[in-house]
Amino acid sequence: MALRALLGLWLGVVIVLGFGLPMVATPVEWYQLPVIPGLEDKARIIFFHVPTAWLAVVGFAMSLIYGARYLRSKKIDDDIKSSASAGIGFMFCTLATVTGAIWAKFSWGTFWNWDPRQTSIFVLLLIYGAYFALRSAVEGEERRATLAAVYAIIAGVTMPFFMFIMPRILSSLHPEPILNTQGKLHMNTIMLLVFLASLIGFTGVYWWMWRLQVRTEQLHHRIGP
């Protein structure tokens, strides 16, 4: 229980810092964040929007891994873990898409413009939707688990191709404050720290929710129909 309380506090602090740390044109004090021209305060979204996108991917990756594990073990426990990660990943994917669109409205003027990043998170959303549509259309626990795992694998295998389409589409309006084209980190130190802390915190929330979901399903299973 103490761990959960720590997580709660951790994210609380992250939120306060994320919004509270002042942004100045030329940072002098250690706690001051630099102003990114064109973005200014909107840059703060990096602390919250990027972790949700990260978890959307993590959720799918875990779903794939447990799905593959199910195919080999045929233990329903693995399927429970697979669908649980997919469920939570789906939620975070929706959050990422929506927060991204809202940010886009403020920064670029439109909610949607088929920017490669926006397109790829949208495709992930479609995959999640398709995954759950498949699950609800199949009868029989074992068959549902098998087909869902297979689809996760097939869809997962085509995901990397999107990463290759992206650089080919020349201009992206999506900011790259973390890794630019040379692969170098050029974020201000304190900003990086808050960002990493947020990432850890969000992952912790994901983990907690996933454990809760898995335990509930396992109990459900053991109690019976």
């Binding site: 479609l126 498949l134 009868e139 087909l147 869809a155 295998v157 191709f161 999107f162």
Partner: protein
């Protein structure tokens, strides 16, 4: 060596069976052709005498092919379910042979479909002119193979589901999207008359996509089939 020969013969047998029963009933073929004719007719009506820009026309071509494929390519597995012949096929052949046999069958269907669509499209849609024909032919060829690869494994997945009609495009679209983007882009390049080298990236993507999807499908197919 003998084993490989036997396996190849199984593949050919599965393909042959599907092909012959298709020729007898002509379900899939007629559905596909009718779909293409209807869709292109609608496009013609809506375009009127207007000339849409090349990017739009390139995209639309593949939209038509995509939905036509969605209406016909799932038959190879769904028909087995409907006729109750799945179990027989499971007993007689290895899953690998079934997969590749049906992959080949779908490949033939998609290629025929694409060629037919391209023909009608070129004849009836205003302003659709391909300048680099070689580029375009390669695009359609690779695109068909890619389509067949993804469509076949997804067809196998949904064959036993309840709402398979609507489920098929829903599952296929995200998986086919990289292929669609590459192929639409390449078509646009071909229409503009760009040299073959310009589409190198797209072709790289297409080839690797095909290899990856076929490999993953072949590995995973037995789990789907054994259910």
């Amino acid at each position: 060596m003998a084993k490989a020969g036997r396996w190849l013969r199984s593949v050919a047998a599965v393909f042959d069976k599907d092909w012959r029963s298709e020729l007898r009933t002509r379900y899939a073929i007629s559905a596909l052709l009718m779909f293409v004719v209807t869709t292109i007719a609608i496009l013609m009506f809506s375009l009127g005498s207007e000339e849409a820009p090349q990017e739009v026309l390139s995209g639309m071509l593949w939209v038509v092919i995509f939905f036509a494929a969605m209406s016909g390519l799932s038959r190879t597995f769904v028909a087995e379910e409907e006729r109750g012949t799945t179990m027989t096929l499971q007993l007689l052949t290895s899953p690998g042979a079934v997969y590749f046999g049906k992959l080949l069958f779908n490949l033939v269907l998609v290629t025929g479909l694409s060629v037919f669509t391209v023909l009608l499209y070129a004849l009836f849609i205003n302003g659709f002119v391909i300048q680099n024909v070689l580029l375009f032919t390669l695009t359609v060829a690779l695109g068909s193979v890619g389509f067949s690869a993804a469509a076949t494994i997804i067809a196998a997945i949904i064959a036993k589901a309840a709402t398979r009609g609507t489920l098929y495009p829903v599952l296929s679209f995200p998986v086919l999207l990289p292929l669609l983007l590459a192929v639409i882009n390449a078509t646009r390049l071909a229409a503009e008359g760009a040299p073959l080298a310009d589409a190198a990236g797209e072709f790289q993507l297409l080839v690797s996509y095909i290899v990856v999807v076929v490999t993953a499908s072949a590995l995973v197919f037995e789990y789907v089939w054994k259910e």
